[in-house]
Amino acid sequence: MFRVVASKILGASVAVFGASLVAFVFMRVFPGNPARLILGPLASEQAIKEQERAMGLDQPLWVQYWRYIKGVFSGNWGFAYSAGDSVKHEVIARLPASAELGLYAFLFAFVLAVLLALVATYRRRPVVDGVIRAVSFFGLGTPPFWFGLIALLLFSQVWHVFPGPDGRLGPNTLPPPTYTHFYTIDALIAGQWATLGDAFMHILLPALTLGLAPFAYLVRLLRANLLDVSRENFIVVVRSKGLGRWSAFQHHALPNAFLPTLTAGGLLLAQLLAGSVLVEKVFNWPGIGALVVDSILRQDYAVVQTFVLLSAIAYVVVNALVDVLYGVIDPRVRIPMAR
């Protein structure tokens, strides 16, 4: 068992190393001189050479890479020239906003997917099936940024149900005292009900938008897994014991269907990471995704580079974790057959 975990960690480390190489290569090797970009098109050759030396760009590539890696580990992630602050500072400042949004998006996607998959499998009716497939295709085919805009248009502009894109809170609301940096949770802890309501109303649309693609993916995965399990022999045996349909479903079909669904965890994270880049800007959400978009516009590549590397690390780590988790939960993997 430990051998398996150790090998997974090793594999993950190798992948992260490879990712850092790729991230570095794309930023340094290819055209697009960072020094020139910082100084602007009118800078003299002399000034550019100076800047390059200051940034260490005149060193051979592997030296640059080594310094970069050292920097990452020591917390120096570069300087975000467009924001006027270190990348690390900016990222950490904006992390809670993205994390809170991602969490709600995941919750919505997961809960809704489970409910719908349950309904589709337990009450197998072709109409329900068709609707779910249609919803799923829609969710996977809609550009999230566009969907967010439509949602804003309808729910905020036309029907005035939700607030407009003014970020995490309305203009007249003060943030709650800081415990977790999650506005909804902090407001709950502090008992500030008005703030809680405001924060919640503001996070709802963006979370639904961000969660749409994950939801579409999950619902089809779950439904397929549930259907597969429902056809297994052991379900018939459970029923022959006298258990009802719902009982058999709840105690036997669901656990067995959830297991393979776990493996989608990494993919879901990837969707949320990518989605945050596309959705935050639309809602003026002060998260990392919006930071990346702004940086691209201003050609501030330190931020993009760091984001790419961090995303890769997170992705690899989560995938490795999911693998290990699967091995822990599935008794067939956890306990070897030999006795």
Partner: protein, 302 residues
């Protein structure tokens, strides 16, 4: 946004809920499946619009006419005009051309490269196999959209680099799939027989393995097509795809961003509908294609 694994089974594969197919020709087959019918018609329409639209429609997608800016949809301008008076419909048609062309190119080239890599890795084995797979793993360590962004940023913005980035992210999926297919087929007895009869490895690879994997490749490619269009739009939205003023759908949505809430919704809505239709139609077709060619899904158990 993830690259769909054409065989992952989670995107369908439930044969029992499909209407009965009697093999009485392609059309009869398509006609019995309403979803496939609609998807096929939609995609055909888009292709026709992309091919002939810009020729048939007189307005210039790049033609600025500030006097006619921000006009609502009308007969003269079925999708209205944008902030500098350009006809949105003309831009929509040009955008269709771009999306479908780039999408197709990305899919075809990616499939060829990835497929080739996978076949070579599977058929050769040894250190070649190891090397190819490590490279693929490095690519797979990134969430696809983010890697495409990195390539775009690193290589400079533009449609070509965007396309390249997207293609890069899809290659490992073809490679992995085809490698396992090749390994599976290699283990089949008839390959052993050919080998025993003295056929050289290259010959075996070409004559026996390749025909079997073509359909596999096609299914994966079909599944990737929708993803390619969607990702291109995403890159365009972020400012990494086509350069201004090229009417790429994603970039058009960005153009319309600030006008959404001031009432000129048409600038951003229509391109989004275009993406939605194209991607969904492609996904539905790919889904059905997989159901026919591989109903139980060789890799159905995720």
């Amino acid at each position: 946004m993830e690259v769909p694994d054409g065989f992952a089974g989670e995107l369908g594969g439930d044969v029992s809920s499909h209407p009965r197919r009697r093999v009485s020709g392609m059309l009869g087959f398509v006609a019995r499946d309403p979803a496939l019918l609609v998807a096929g018609a939609t995609l055909t329409l888009l292709v026709l619009l992309a091919l002939f639209g810009p020729l048939a429609w007189p307005n210039d997608p790049l033609g600025i006419d500030v006097g006619a800016s921000l006009e609502a949809p009308s007969w003269a301008h079925p999708m209205g005009t944008d902030s500098v008076g350009r006809d949105v419909f003309a831009r929509f048609l040009e955008g269709a051309r771009i999306s479908l062309a780039v999408g197709s190119l990305v899919v075809v080239v990616g499939a060829l490269i990835g497929g080739f890599a996978g076949v070579v890795a599977g058929a050769t084995g040894g250190w070649v196999d190891g090397l190819v797979m490590r490279v693929m793993d490095a690519i797979l360590a990134f969430p696809p959209l983010i890697l495409a962004m990195a390539v775009s940023v690193g290589l400079g913005t533009g449609l070509k680099t965007a396309g390249l980035g997207i293609m890069l992210t899809t290659i490992p999926y073809y490679a992995r799939l085809l490698r396992s297919e090749v390994l599976r087929i290699r283990a089949l007895p008839f390959i052993e027989a050919a080998h025993a009869l003295g056929a050289r490895r290259m010959r075996i690879m070409l004559r026996h393995i390749v025909p079997h994997v073509v359909s596999t490749l096609l299914i994966q490619a079909a599944a990737v097509f929708g993803y390619a269009i969607l990702t291109l739009a995403a890159l365009g939205f972020v400012g990494l795809g086509a350069r201004v003023p090229t009417p790429e759908w994603g970039a058009m949505i960005t153009d319309g961003l600030q006008y959404f809430l001031t009432g000129q919704w048409w600038i951003g809505v229509f391109p989004g509908i275009g993406v939605l239709l194209a991607v969904t139609a492609a996904n539905v077709i790919a889904d059905r294609a997989r159901d026919i060619l591989d109903p139980r899904g060789r890799y159905a158990h995720v």
